[in-house]
Each structure stands twice: as C-alpha cells, then as structure tokens.
C-alpha cells in the first residue's frame, strides 16, 4: 500500500509536465514482460550460480551428501597447503605468459605482413583463420598424432635433419610447452583478424602525412602511426587472449590429463577433477573463485585502459 502510494506520487510528480504517465504506463508493462524471461534466466543461470560458487567455496559440500556445513576458509587453507594447487597455478601462469605474448606478437606480425602487400591477401587470411574454426578437440587429436614419439610427423621431421625427437606430451619437461604451441597455433588467427580490422581502420592520410613529415622506412611509419593507432586493438587482443589462456582446458584434458606427474596441470583442469570427478563441489568452487579473480583482474586492466579510448565493436 505504501509502495503504491509512493509510486503514484512519483508518477504524479513526473506527470505534471505532460500527459506522459499514461503513455509510460502503457509501455511499461510490455517492457517488463519482454525483459522478464531474460531477468529470470540471468538470475537462475548466471548471477545466482556466480554467487552460489562463492558461497559454495565456504562449505564442505560434496555431491550426493545429504548435508553440508559452513567451514569458513578451510577450502582455501587446504588449497594453499596443496602442492597440486601451486603447480597448477604456476603452470597456468606459465601458459598465459608464453601464449599471450607469442600469439599477440605473431598475430600482429602476420597482420602487418598481409597488409603490407596486395597479393594473396584473402588466401592468407583464410589459412591463418582456419584453426579458429576447426573444433579444437578434433585438432588436438591430430596434434597428438603429430607429436607421437615414434610415428609422429614432428619427430620424423626432426630425424630427417638429424635431431633427436622426444616424447613431447609424455615428457615432464615438454608437455606444457607442447600445449603452449597448440594454444598459439589456435589463437594466432583470431588475433590476426582483430589486428587486420585495426589496421584497416587507420586513416590513410596519416601515412601520407608521415611520409611528408619525413618518416622514412617501415620502422618509422610503424612507430609514428601504426603502433599508436593500434593501441586500443592491442589492449583488447591482449586481454582477450589472456582470458582465453586462463580458460585452457580442452587440450589438457584430451592430451595430457594434466600429466605427466602434474607437469601440465592447469587451474580449470584441477577444478574439473575436484568438482566433477571427485565431486568435491566446495573445494572445486574455491578453485573457481581463484580463477575468477584472475579473469576479473584482466577485465579491470581492460576497462581502465578503455577509458583511454578503447572501442568495442
């Protein structure tokens, strides 16, 4: 009743100027009906679960157990004391630290090379984009065979130039790096396309002006025009590649299962094992929260740089 009264007062206050309240009202109901399904599903499938995962991380819930208890930070304490967690975190950070700079730099290099000439542009673009489209799981299996210690293409090629092959995915020293190569292979084309779009949007007259101003050679032009103008694109590409690299799971799960002896264990994979193979939901949730913190950090980097003129499109 009190609510209805305040609502009426507000409406009356706003309506003093014109006859809009009636109109507002008549459109307000369809509007609410239109957003209602989205609101309900957002609450049920996104926001609720997000809060749920945080809450869950403070419990000892296990799937199937009839009851659970609030255990405070016990999951986090266990996590911090767990060698596997630290290995997993270090591997994830290593993966990100290798894949992001490599995939961004190569993506930029390929985009610049494609853009610097006029022939075969569309062909190169298509080829480099192919891994983005191809189902990663299927291609992981192909990579697995390519990296096969005995019959794989990679070792075969190495032999032919007189080098010793390795058991790439079964070797503690190389498994994670092999996954990095696959990660770069897959992300490169996506970054290239984003950089190409960025390059195309640089106004041509700027290059003319640079030429008139005496910026000779590719490097001077790149420093004066291309690189600064690509700034927003670069920030975007770095953050996107970063978030995707933190999410690495498919290749790990199919090719190494985190092994050998945890040498390629990564955060999401650990979370998957704890949450969905051991059904330790509470502990899995705590791992998810750690993952979320990293993604959030990257997002913050992006939005703080966004104020300097990053455009989303």
């Amino acid at each position: 009743m009190a609510d209805a009264l305040t609502a009426t007062t507000i409406l009356a206050g706003r309506g003093a100027a014109a006859v809009t309240p009636a109109r507002d009202n008549s459109r307000s109901w369809p509007a609410l009906a239109m957003v209602a399904p989205a609101i309900v599903l957002m609450g049920l499938l996104l926001l609720g679960p997000l809060l749920g995962v945080i809450a869950l991380s403070f419990t000892d819930y296990q799937l199937g157990s009839p009851r659970f208890a609030w255990i405070g930070f016990a999951n986090y304490e266990e996590m911090l004391a767990d060698r596997v967690f630290w290995i997993s975190l270090r591997n994830t950070l290593t993966y990100v630290a290798i894949v992001v700079p490599t995939a961004v730099a190569l993506g930029l290099a390929v985009a610049l090379l494609i853009e610097s000439g006029s022939s075969l542009r569309a062909w190169y673009r298509t080829i480099y984009f192919l891994p983005v489209m191809a189902t990663l799981i299927a291609m992981s299996i192909v990579w697995e065979f390519m990296l096969h210690p005995q019959f794989g293409l990679v070792n075969g090629l190495l032999h032919s130039v007189g080098l010793e092959g390795r058991s790439w995915l079964q070797d503690r020293g190389t498994a994670l790096y092999a996954l990095c190569v696959i990660g770069v292979w897959q992300a490169l084309g996506f970054n290239m396309v984003l950089f190409l779009a960025g390059l195309v949007s640089i106004p041509r007259p700027l290059y003319d002006a640079a030429e008139i101003d005496g910026a000779h050679g590719a490097w001077a032009r790149f420093r004066l025009v291309t690189w600064p103008m690509l700034g927003p694109t670069t920030v975007f590409v770095v953050v996107i590649t970063g978030i995707r690299s933190f999410q690495v799971f498919d290749t790990v799960h199919v090719l190494t299962k985190g092994g050998p002896s945890k040498s390629s264990e990564v955060l999401i994979h650990t979370m998957y094992i704890e949450g969905f193979e051991f059904f330790r939901s509470g502990y899995g949730a705590a791992l998810t929260v750690v993952f979320l913190v990293f993604v959030l950090l990257l997002t913050l980097v992006k939005s703080s740089l966004a104020n300097r003129g990053v455009h989303y499109a």
Partner: protein, 278 residues
C-alpha cells in the same frame, strides 16, 4: 605500406614469411587428411610421406562411421546448436528491444547487470549449475546441454546496441499502424536486425559446436554426445592404435564448420570477431 618502393625483394620476403607461417598453420590439417588417406601399414612407419602409396581414405571413413556413431554426433551437434541459438534469440531480442527503445523502471540497472553478466566466464558457473541440474534431475539430456546457454548476456548487449541505431521514427510509425510492442519486436525490429543476428548466430553456433567442457560435465549417455565429445571418446576407445579412422572422424567433425567458413568467409570472420568479446 608502399610496396612499390620495396619492389620485388620485399614482395618475395613477405610471401616467404607468410608461407612459412601458413605451413605451420596448415600442417595439422594436411597431416590429418594425409593420415586419413593411408592404410595402417603406411601410418605406422617412421619415414615421412604426405601422399599415400595406397589410398585408404574410403576404408578409413567406413571404419570411422562403423565404429563410432558419427552421424548421431553430427545430428546431436545440429540439434543442440540450433536449439541454443533459437532460444537465445527468443529471449534476447525482446529484452534487447526493451533495453534499447522502451522506458521502464530499472532499465539502467538491468543494462548494467547485462554488461556484468557478459564478463562471467562459463567455467565459473559450472559447479552450481551442475548441482542445480542434478537437483531437478535433468543431467544427461538435451535440456542439460541447451538450457545453460539459453540466456546470452552478450546477445542481449549486441542486439541492444544494434537496435539503438534503428530510428525511433520506424517504431513510432509501426505504433501508428497499430502494431503491438511484441509485434514490433518480431515484425519490425527482427527484419532490420538480420545482419547483426547473422553475426551473432555464427558466433553462437561455432562456440557451441566446438564446446567440450560443458557436454563433458553433464553427459553420460553415448547417444547424446556432441561432436567434440564423440570424437574424443572414439579416440579413447581406439587408444591410439587406429589413427587412420580417427583422423577420418576428426575430418568429419570439423568439416561442417570449416566448409561453411570457406563458403562464407567474410561473414564468419565478422561473426567471430565482432562478437569475440568472450
């Protein structure tokens, strides 16, 4: 930027570098096709040859289709991706229209929530959604594969941005013609939004066709497996012995998207990158 100045040398260097990169990119694809065309005896040998001496492509495909229900996986992929996209549109379009063109209490808050939801990675909600589905007993079903993705905050955001650019006059004219607000969404806004919707559709279908994480979590039954799950389990069953048919299966799984991409490259690249915020 000015190729004429660099002349032939630069042009040659450019092609050389790009071709080297292209070789790295294409190698797995070439090796996949090559292996899928070879008989066992040629696969398990240490000498490298790309062109098989005896073509066994057909046999390998036959074995793959015989041992794994590839057709079933493809069908599941189509059912799941199409259902997801249809439901996403059904839910996102009215919401996007309301957010873009209608005034109602809490609009700004709702839009802020949508923006926030875009940032939630799918892995973050996996455990609670899994528990929820377990509770209501829909694990291991098409519903389990489809429902979590029916709400696409990104879809709402994208369509809202697009609708913002539609002139108000068009909507006013529709109202003058007596079309209801819901009618406006489907009969006026939907047709104008086809390009944006195509981009979003490509994004959505590609993402969910290739998704491995979620189906892996919720599925048990073989007959519900989506393409990535199908090929992964085929590989586990073959335990690294039968690479010819395995590569043939991989070809089958990636073929629909790769062929569609080759046919409509520009649209695909637009779709994947325009909406590449995730």
């Amino acid at each position: 930027m000015t190729p004429r100045r660099h002349g032939i040398t630069w042009s040659a260097a450019r092609h050389l570098l790009l071709l080297a990169g292209a070789a790295f990119i294409l190698l797995p694809f070439i090796w996949m096709v090559s292996t899928a065309s070879k008989p066992q005896t040629e696969i398990f040998t240490t000498d490298i040859h790309f062109i098989p001496q005896n073509l066994a492509l057909w046999e390998n495909f036959a074995t793959a289709f015989g041992k794994a229900s590839l057709w079933r996986f493809l069908l599941n992929g189509v059912v799941v991706t199409v259902s997801i996209f249809a439901l996403q549109v059904l839910i996102a379009l009215p919401a996007a229209y309301a957010l873009a063109k209608l005034r109602f209490a809490g609009r700004e808050v709702l839009f802020a929530l949508v923006l926030f939801c875009i940032l939630i990675p799918p892995q973050a909600t996996a455990i609670p959604v899994f528990l929820l589905f377990h509770q209501i007993g829909i694990l291991d079903s098409y519903a389990a594969l489809v429902v979590p993705f029916t709400i696409s905050a990104f879809g709402i955001f994208l369509m809202r941005q697009f609708f913002k650019t539609v002139p108000d006059d068009l909507i006013e004219a529709a109202r003058m013609d007596g079309i209801t607000e819901f009618g406006i969404v489907w009969r006026v806004m939907l047709p104008t939004a086809i390009p944006a919707l195509t981009a979003f559709g490509i994004f959505s279908v590609v993402a969910h066709w290739n998704d491995y994480f979620w189906p892996l979590i919720v599925l048990n039954s073989e007959h519900l497996r989506t393409p990535p799950l199908g090929v992964a389990s085929f590989r586990n069953e073959e335990a690294g012995t039968n690479y010819g048919p395995l590569m043939a299966a991989a070809i089958v799984i990636i073929a629909p998207l790769v062929i569609a991409f080759l046919l409509a490259q520009r649209r695909f690249i637009e779709g994947i990158t325009l909406t590449g915020i995730k």
